[in-house]
């Protein structure tokens, strides 16, 4: 499946799989896609999420307590692929659960499930040669992060091996909401575009329609994570799918308000 952003900016929605349980994640995922999300990042819960803020840390803890495993994430992806053939599906994980599962086995199963791409938070390009071989053999797109601190030489290296989209971190720091989008983000997107024709998605701290509109002025897609996860926690199992649908639809005025001339690739 190609990863496509039909509207500008596109919407990438992150979910910690298994928080609060797999059934809820499944329903929320469908609701998010039907409300306009282009890509789902299926987050694999990990015991030591050192790049994450308190919201996703707590979600990971709940998901692990509920017994969520990597195999559950892949099973969910398979279901979603069957139910929504056009959705972009990315597995978002820390490295260790993938290593323990076995990278080749993971890639085989992810391909079988219809996953489009894989993002491993703590995998850097210099260490990735064999990881990339496994992914490519199974037609999985390797997605890497670029950060405001990444010098141009690193952006070039990262862009050369990334596929699907480039994930630009909006600011230095961990995941979580913030009141306004850092000025770092636009500069980073501009720099990375020198090295890639791929869409660039901006995440970390993107949490409302205003942020999405801001991102739409200079990037191709916005990644919403902690704001979604926090909403699920707040409203609970029964309300989560409808609340998330409303939340994502609420981002839509911003979606259509973005100037297409600027974000056109």
């Amino acid at each position: 499946m190609p990863i496509r952003f039909e509207q500008k900016p596109g919407l990438v929605v992150y979910l910690t799989v298994g928080d609060p349980d797999l059934e809820t994640t499944h329903k929320v995922a469908l609701a998010a896609l039907d409300a306009g999300a282009d890509v789902l990042e299926l987050g694999v819960p990990f015991s030591d999420p050192l790049a994450d803020g308190p919201v996703i840390q707590a979600a990971s803890e709940r998901a692990l307590k509920a017994g969520t495993k990597l195999s559950d994430v892949l099973a969910l992806a398979k279901e979603l692929r069957r139910e929504r053939p056009q959705a972009g599906l990315v597995v978002f994980s820390y490295l260790n659960p993938l290593l323990r599962y076995g990278v080749e086995r993971f890639c085989t199963d992810a391909e079988d499930a219809g996953v489009d791409g894989v993002l491993a938070t703590d995998m850097i390009v210099e260490e990735a040669a064999e990881y990339l071989e496994h992914l490519r053999r199974h037609k999985l797109k390797p997605i890497f992060l670029v950060a405001p601190t990444s010098p141009d030489e690193r952006l070039k290296k990262i862009a050369a091996v990334t596929d699907g989209f480039v994930y630009a971190i909006s600011r230095v720091g961990i995941t979580g909401t913030q009141s306004s989008l850092a000025a770092d983000a636009a500069g980073l997107v501009e720099r990375v575009r020198k090295y890639t024709k791929l869409p660039v998605a901006v995440g970390f701290g993107v949490s409302n329609a205003g942020h999405v509109a801001d991102v739409g002025r200079f990037a191709d897609a916005a990644v919403i994570g902690s704001a979604i996860v926090a909403t699920i926690e707040k409203v609970g199992r029964a309300e989560a799918p409808s609340s998330i649908a409303r939340f994502i639809e609420g981002l839509r005025p911003a979606v259509s308000a973005a100037d297409p001339a600027v974000s056109q690739k």
């Binding site: 999420p49 260490e127 601190t149």
Partner: protein, 408 residues
């Protein structure tokens, strides 16, 4: 073997420095890569700079109290009735443990990089105290992350850090111990990376930390080798050191690695049982994986989730181990054994009452192995125990565990 492990071990080790056999490397969020490259570069520059070395040597000598004695523990030797025992007295250093060696080195490096804010993690509090000390000395801002459980069991060190002007931030996630403190320090670093140096306290984390921290502790084995040759005109049969992350052990081992007749014995925390969660013996219950930036042995479950650990000593209570130890383990050059909580407590009493030396509970694990091993060896054999720290900080635990109150 899980295929993922083979995958990583074959992942282009030549592309990235900081490999020890299959282990080590760099597994961090991209945001930190520029800082790691900056640190690697600054460290390489400093190593070539005579002024840096002069300042480091001066502080190690006049401030920290190096060289530390290599002390012949005659009463302990007699008590055990076997090998002749020497103690490398890192416990006599300023702040009470070997940790100061690395803190002075990295503190000076941070100064060279123009970073005025220092963050650190601490388990037993010895690294936190040493970091707070060096920050006071160099006039730097200092924030130390410490698990809440460790803050309770090492309260004295929390108070010391605060007195020295450091801010101690309690960490309430996970098991509230060292691993969780490192997670929180990494989160701070990723947020404040432009102004902050992360003064990591062990041979853990992403390259260049395992190499750099080892280099700052090499002085232990440099001195010990010279001292044992002066005193005995021969090398010891074995060097024994406790291993949490493994900084005192790698420092004590390093100069002896080429000396094939010298056994290198690392002692892990056996805690109070062999079940996962009851101990911190990575080479008994662990398998290769990535935790907090490096590829090494990790105590983990079948899904790659990192296990909880237990040890009476906060400084050994950690789910992974320095990658160079993983390589020394796999090559067979070093041996790794364990001592239980109970054995460490007994060793503390034995050393206190035979030599009048109160070891840190961490170091007591090495003493416990010495107590086990010495009687099995002849009197012509020599054992060197790296006494990495002193036990004053542990008085609260010792009072409780040994029921000292009201006892004689």
């Amino acid at each position: 073997m899980v295929s993922g492990m083979e995958t990583l071990s074959e992942t282009t080790p030549q592309q990235v420095a900081g490999r020890f056999g299959a282990y080590g490397g760099r597994y961090v969020p991209e945001t930190l890569m520029a800082a790691l490259e900056e640190l690697e570069h600054a460290y390489a520059e400093a190593q070539k700079n005579p002024a840096f070395h002069a300042r480091l040597d001066d502080l190690l000598h006049n401030y920290a109290g190096r060289p530390t004695p290599l002390y012949h523990a005659a009463r302990l030797t007699e008590h055990l009735g076997g090998a002749k025992i020497y103690l490398k007295r890192e416990d006599l250093l300023h702040t009470g443990a070997h940790k100061i060696n690395n803190c002075i080195g990295q503190g000076l490096l941070a100064q060279r990089m123009g970073k005025q804010r220092i963050i650190a993690e601490t388990g037993a509090g010895q690294h936190g105290v040493a970091t707070a000390t060096v920050c006071a000395l160099l006039g730097m801002e200092c924030v130390v992350y410490m698990g809440e459980e460790d803050m309770q069991r090492q309260e004295l060190n929390v108070l010391r850090m605060r007195l020295l002007g450091a801010e101690v931030r309690g960490v309430s996630s996970g098991s509230k111990t060292l691993k969780d403190a490192i997670n929180e320090a990494m989160r701070d670093w990723v947020t404040n990376v432009r102004t902050t140096h992360y003064l990591l306290g062990s041979v853990l984390g992403a390259h260049p930390y395992p190499m750099m921290v080892r280099d700052f502790h090499r002085v232990i084995s440099k001195e010990a080798k010279r001292q044992i040759l002066e005193k005995e005109n021969r090398l010891p049969s074995a060097i024994i050191a406790c291993v949490g992350g493994g900084s005192n052990a790698i420092g004590a081992f390093y100069e002896f690695i080429p000396e094939k007749d010298v056994r290198l014995i690392g002692v892990e925390a056996g805690g109070n049982g062999t079940t996962l969660g009851m101990h911190a013996a990575r080479f008994r219950g662990g398998s290769p994986g990535v935790l907090q930036g490096t590829y090494s042995y990790v105590l983990q479950d079948d899904d790659g989730q990192v296990a909880l650990t237990h040890s009476v000593s906060a400084g050994l209570d950690y789910a992974s181990i320095g990658p160079e130890h993983a390589a020394l383990h796999d090559s067979g050059r070093a041996e790794y054994t364990l001592a239980t909580d109970e054995q460490a407590l007994e060793a503390t009493v034995t050393l206190a009452r035979t030599e009048g030396i109160l070891p840190a509970l961490e170091s007591a694990h090495a003493v416990a192995e010495c107590i086990r091993l010495a009687p099995t060896l002849g009197q012509h054999e020599i054992l060197v125990v790296n006494l990495s720290g002193r036990g004053d900080k542990d008085m609260g635990i010792l009072a409780r565990e040994l029921k000292l109150k009201g006892a004689r």
